[in-house]
Subunit: 101 residues, 2 copies
């Protein structure tokens, strides 16, 4: 069972969940209220996000608050690093120009 951050953010629902939780820690029920899917389905998505540690759970009583973990998301940013220079590099823009002749 491959469970890395890249696979985690491949699903649009999971990206939306991350977009919610980054605003502030939430319980699964609170998250599910924003979607049409059942609580069970959302719970599964949250579980996948937790398994690859992009979310961290903190139990308080019977409620579980899920927090966003910046460190894991950073991995994507780091991977993106070597590609980023392609759109920041002005030489590349010249290269694109030449290729489009």
């Amino acid at each position: 069972m491959r469970r890395d951050v890249f696979q985690a953010i491949a699903d649009p629902t999971r990206r939306a969940i991350l977009g919610l939780i980054v605003m502030g820690a939430m319980t699964p029920n609170a998250v599910a209220a924003h979607f049409d899917s059942t609580r069970q389905t959302i719970s599964k998505h949250i579980q996948i996000l937790t398994e690859c540690e992009v979310l961290i759970q903190k139990k308080t009583g019977r409620e579980i608050y899920y927090h966003f973990n910046p460190e894991k998301m950073k991995e994507i940013d780091i991977w993106l690093e070597r590609f980023r220079k392609m759109w920041e590099d002005s030489f590349n823009q010249l290269d694109n120009l030449l290729n489009n002749i």
Copy 2:
């Protein structure tokens, strides 16, 4: 058939292909030489990357050179933007500290 950049980079083989092609445009055969998979399988991966426009094909004779398209990859960078402040923000580091008490 969902075909976006996020789904495209979910597969480790496709990430590796992108890592190769960003160094310089390549033909499918040249790409396949770097992997254990068959040429057909690599061709399919390249096709998926092309469908979501993270690769662009340029035919020269009977050879097809695949080029990296920075613009599409940029979409990931843009999506990441709102999360990025979480690991750049010094207040968040304080927040992490408080949560770990």
